[in-house]
């Protein structure tokens, strides 16, 4: 079996494109219950923040699952706060869009280059720029989101909490936006008699990057690899 030299970089760019497109729809940041607290309380709750400024949240109590999706605007109390939060997501969105457009361009330019057209330098440059932009986007949101997260009124939409919630769901309200001091983080289970002994000192809530963030970051790494490969093929030819 012989694989054409051009196939690997093209496949890499294609995978990067798919990952980036998925990144638009998948959440970029999430806050969820840690596995130990899920097991101890026999229930779960989580909230996912997407690039399109929609928070998708879910909770399960005794096999009863409820889902909700609300715009981030519903979780802020003033226009000023909303603007600050929206600017983070809008800037990240713009970086990803630019990265996606350049990835598409690089794919087209690489295909043209195989036929010998004089687009080789441009193809390398487009792939490198796309990689750079998609690398910057996750880093940008990582550094800026913790600074604006305290402007939210709550991290999980209150509509998820039923009338007579179990005690632990009330605890969800304990996770205050001001607790978010970093993009990654967690809070410990409170030392309360309501929690079994085997789970004490464990994590209660944890937050960090979600699938969209991870796929975009991976896409940028794949594009960096593709850039080097394209460059090597050109040098060789």
């Amino acid at each position: 079996m012989k694989i054409e030299k051009w196939t690997p970089p093209i496949i890499l760019i294609l995978i990067a494109l798919i990952f980036t497109i998925l990144g638009f729809y998948l959440p970029w940041w999430s806050i969820k219950m840690a596995p130990e607290s899920e097991m101890a309380l026999n229930g779960t709750a989580r909230a996912d923040y997407g690039l399109l400024q929609v928070v998708t949240a879910s909770r399960t109590i005794r096999n009863d699952t409820q889902l909700t999706a609300v715009p981030i605007a519903n979780l802020t109390k003033s226009q000023e706060d909303l603007n600050a939060i929206a600017s983070v997501f809008n800037s990240t969105f713009a970086l990803v869009v630019a990265g996606l457009v350049l990835s598409l361009a690089s794919l087209v330019l690489v295909i043209i280059s195989i036929r010998g057209k004089p687009m080789r330098r441009l193809a390398t440059l487009a792939t490198l720029l796309a990689a750079f932009l998609l690398f910057i986007a996750p880093l940008y949101i990582t550094s800026t989101l913790p600074t604006v997260a305290p402007k939210l009124t709550s991290l999980i939409p209150s509509t998820l909490v039923p009338n007579n919630p179990p005690f632990w769901l009330n605890q969800t309200l304990l996770v205050k936006p001001k607790d978010i001091t970093g993009f990654w983080g967690s809070i410990k289970i409170p030392s309360s008699s309501e929690f079994p002994a085997w789970v004490r000192d464990g994590n209660f809530w944890m937050w960090g990057p979600a699938s969209g963030w991870l796929l975009t970051f991976t896409a940028s790494l794949l594009l960096f690899v593709a850039t080097t490969l394209i460059n090597q093929i050109f040098v060789k030819e």
Partner: protein
């Protein structure tokens, strides 16, 4: 043909890299290692003395995979992929690329090593890249796999091809470091579970959620015992040489016998994977014991095949040599190492250790008591060796 081997090495490394990347992405998404278990168990039950047998395999160790650290694991996986692709496009710096693939595959172990399969594929692929254009079967790793499958022809060529005792000594050191790390990590965490002073939540985190606690002792132990392992290997080689060459009168050299024994030690390195699996509390010692029995039995079989090829004797005779030599070694090991070091480390002086490290603190001790039973066991072995023709000249 050359192109075909290039594609094969590339595809293996690539597949390994992709699996490592997928494993890394899943872990990053979960924020916790991937767990496979024998079924659900109530957390309160897992540590009770009457817990049923429950096991879990953890692909990755919690504490090493969460937070910003996960970016590093993703970058490592992409580096493996990059090296495999670079090799395919420009197979010039194949040795460097092969080394990079192997090194970063090993570094992926804390994240589960691409469900272990990815790690194995990438290491084999990396080995092929390093030795390209040799066919897979002829590479060092390919031959090691054939040796592990107890292929007698492979044994002969492997023992003949190696020069001097240096590679054999390195094999012993490498195997001991790998098994020592696995044993150290497992026993440190198992001891934590068994320790009454440890909070119940810590024990549960280790068993149920794949947490791993580290300590400098885990690193120090395997390095400290490297010297002893080499001395023990020389003693075993000497015993086998005396029986094989002086008693049976086969034509062989000490070097060849030493190499055969070092090669036979290879399955012991599988003990490295011990901390990936944990069982419920009453069976904590059961799992490592199973692995010890399997790897040691494998080692004994490899030794029988290796000495058969080395001394050019029948399989039965080789079994006799291994039984007699092994039991003498066992006794020597007890007298020199266990008595000298074991008592001070709290192991009963009558404990007879049969694995490379003199002790696995607090977890496993192989002891035959009363001591008279040991002498009876030795007598049976000697009669067996006579029946198998050990004392008949070649």
């Amino acid at each position: 043909m050359k192109e075909e081997k290039l594609t094969k090495a590339f595809l293996l490394s690539c597949l390994g890299a992709v699996l490592i990347l997928i494993n890394g992405l899943i872990i990053a998404l979960n924020g916790a290692p991937l767990m496979v278990s024998s079924g659900s168990i109530a957390p309160e039950m897992v540590l009770s003395s009457d817990a049923p047998l429950w096991w879990r395999i953890s692909f990755g160790f919690r504490g090493l995979v969460e937070g910003p650290l996960m970016i590093l694991w993703l970058i490592f996986a992409v580096i493996i992929l990059f090296s495999a692709l670079m090799f395919y496009i420009k197979p010039i710096k194949r040795k460097t690329l092969g080394m990079v693939i192997i090194a970063f595959s090993i570094l992926s172990i804390p994240t589960g090593g691409g469900f272990i399969i990815g790690l194995i594929l990438a290491i084999i692929g990396g080995g092929m890249v390093y030795e390209w254009p040799k066919p897979a079967r002829q590479t060092f790793l390919g031959r090691l796999i054939r040796v592990a499958r107890l292929d007698p022809k492979m044994y002969s060529s492997f023992i003949e091809e190696l020069k001097g005792l240096k590679p054999a000594a390195f094999t012993i050191i490498f195997v001991n470091i790998l098994s020592g790390l696995g044993i150290g990590l497992y026993s440190f965490n198992a001891r934590k579970i068994l320790d009454a002073a440890t909070p119940i939540s810590t024990s549960t985190r280790i068993i149920l959620f794949g947490d791993m606690f580290l300590d400098q002792e885990i690193l120090v132990l395997p390095i400290t015992f490297v010297g002893i392992a080499v001395v023990k290997w020389i003693i075993l080689s000497g015993i086998m040489y005396i029986i094989g060459v002086k008693i049976i009168a086969s034509k062989s050299e000490f070097e060849k016998i030493g190499r055969a024994i070092a090669l036979a030690y290879a399955p012991i390195s599988l003990q490295f994977f011990m901390p990936f699996i944990f069982t419920s509390k009453p069976n904590l010692a059961g799992w490592p014991l199973t692995l010890f029995l399997i790897t040691n039995l494998w080692m004994i079989l490899a030794l029988v095949i290796g000495l058969k090829q080395c001394l050019d004797i029948s399989l039965g005779k080789s079994l006799g040599v291994v039984s007699l030599g092994g039991s003498i070694y066992w006794l020597t090991n007890q007298l020199i190492f266990v008595k000298a070091f074991g008592t001070s480390s709290g192991i009963p002086s009558s404990a007879f250790m049969i694995f490379p490290l003199p002790q696995i603190p607090g977890i496993i001790q192989f002891a035959i008591e009363p001591p008279e039973l040991v002498f009876m066991f030795m007598s049976v072995i000697i009669i067996l060796a006579i029946l198998l023709g050990v004392f008949t000249k070649h």
